[in-house]
Point group: C2
Chain length 330, copies 2
């Protein structure tokens, strides 16, 4: 109900996901008056069923207030289905804040987690990805939140990204141990003691160069860096287009012949391939997708939810955090 | 003494600056044993003279301790010459922290400024630039620091960037007034009352799309975003290179013919054109250049220092801040 691209895009993405994953079943949550006819028009939804939810939370609504007022909102109903065991994972495009609040308050947090965070995979040189946590759930992190992001991100990289021994770095303004702000300097000493391969401080460019697998940062910083990266990609694309337009015939021909290369570049630099982002630290698999996610991105967000459920990510996360708490007390 | 590219690069940049600005004189600060023979070998330095400084502060030294221990370091001597009126502006490549500490403690702060910040110009769609402040001097800002960055950045944009009525935005995680962390939410209400054209919250991609002229942020966030932008530029360049290498002959030919376009793009996306960054809030013109700045970037950093001095930036800044303080008290 909350995708900016509309219901048909979501249903087409659902059909693609069902085709790709043979043992997946999907529950589409929303207003039957709108969903029923749309589902009838979309082939390939045999393993999908409808769950009614008559309200929606819009992009501009304040998450906390909207959650309280709209107990029948699609995102709230979706989270409730995971809570009640009727679904093994939730996928929600739309208002990120509403997703975080609905998931956290409905599913509850894992014991030992103060604030759940969002982990996102960004493209890396040579085709891999780097996970960044948090990218917008917790905008005023405490140092111990950052340390737990490192521990949760480590497990995510092992389970979902299939990296047996992930390198975890703390985002800062210099590689040296003494570089950082009050928040990161405290987090640094906690991460050093955590049961992960902590490689110390990393910098903004390390996200893309393959030096690190999991980058830990405050949600304010992580959100700014995601949008900055997006801005640079758009700047380069736009400038290149106008440079070609102003160029002579040979360079223009170069642009024409380069089209396959640019298509491949767009694919590698695009976030669509990695679909949604996991909300880690809640007691259930919950995937947040961009409100403007296209068909491919939405299909991949469903795939991420499927994988998290298949790998029992939340159960393992709960175990790992409990173990960490026991060790910290000992 | 502290440029990673070595003395000959600095001297070549100096000669270019002297040629470009006919009424400029330069004072080159450093070890005479190294500088004298190098200056003799570089033509075009007739209006340059040497000022001896026998120590240097390296990239890995802790700024505060180094400043105390090395009163004859080149960066300290340079700041002292501005303080004593022997120079109208200082330009320092190398250890940024050492530059900030040396400038702040030697020149002193303008009345009303708690923490000086660094303002940097980033490329914008269509050829302009956007100023971002702070990009690394103050990594734990108070809201009133951010408000003063807005006021100082506004004057910088008017004087140095020749924008009569700059749009000043606060970097946050959403455009709505209620979006942000504790720090930015407090700064928001202060900036709204400041005598500038405050356009509210802006996001990471707005830095590059021309929506805003001055972006205000904490130095930790600003430093991370600069390096993230750098990382994305390198990622795209590197991926494009390997895509062409793996391509068929037609696409390869496209890459060859596109070379002039890529050269133009590199020029537009490069930080060199904008040279150094001003440290604003100290009682003197002080330009910080990257330790690895090349000849063009260094020449442009000198040009920035020249312009700040010619425009009496510091004097105007002192007046504006005093006025702001008087109004705040009234």
């Amino acid at each position: 109900m909350t995708s900016e691209r509309g219901i048909p895009t979501v249903l087409a993405a659902s059909a693609r996901a069902l085709k790709e994953m043979g043992d997946l079943s999907l529950i589409l949550v929303g207003d039957p008056a709108l969903l029923e006819p749309a589902m009838a028009a979309q082939p390939g939804l045999e393993r999908a069923r409808l769950e009614p939810a008559l309200q929606t939370i819009g992009m501009d609504e304040e998450p906390g207030a909207a959650f309280k007022a709209k107990r029948d909102a699609s995102v709230v109903v979706t989270a409730r289905m995971v809570k009640e065991g009727k679904a093994q994972a939730a996928v929600s495009p739309g208002n990120t804040g509403a997703s975080v609040v609905s998931a956290t308050l409905t599913l509850g947090r894992l014991t030992g987690i103060r604030r759940p965070g969002i982990i996102s995979q960004l493209p890396q040189r040579g085709g891999g990805t780097t996970a960044v946590m948090d990218v917008g759930a917790v905008v005023d992190c405490r140092p111990d939140d950052l340390c737990l992001f490192g521990i949760m991100g480590n497990l995510y990289a092992q389970q979902v990204m299939h990296k047996p021994n992930p390198r975890v770095g703390l985002l800062s303004i210099g590689e040296e141990d003494i570089k950082g702000n009050d928040q990161t300097l405290s987090a640094f000493s906690m991460l050093k003691k955590a049961p992960i391969q902590f490689i110390g401080n990393v910098e903004g460019y390390d996200i893309f160069n393959g030096r690190v697998d999991v980058v830990v940062c405050d949600g304010f910083v992580g959100n700014v860096l995601l949008k900055t990266a997006e801005g640079v990609v758009r700047l380069i694309g736009g400038e290149l287009k106008s440079i070609y337009a102003e160029s002579g015939p040979f360079t223009k021909m170069g642009g024409f012949l380069s089209k396959p290369a640019f298509r491949e570049l767009a694919l590698r630099a695009s976030a669509d391939e990695h679909g949604g982002s996991s909300l880690l630290g809640v007691a259930g698999n919950f995937i947040i997708a961009h409100g403007s996610a296209n068909q491919v991105a939405l299909k991949n967000a469903i795939r991420l939810g499927y994988r998290c459920a298949a790998d029992r990510l939340v159960e393992q996360m709960a175990e790992r955090i409990a173990q960490q708490n026991a060790e910290a007390k000992a």
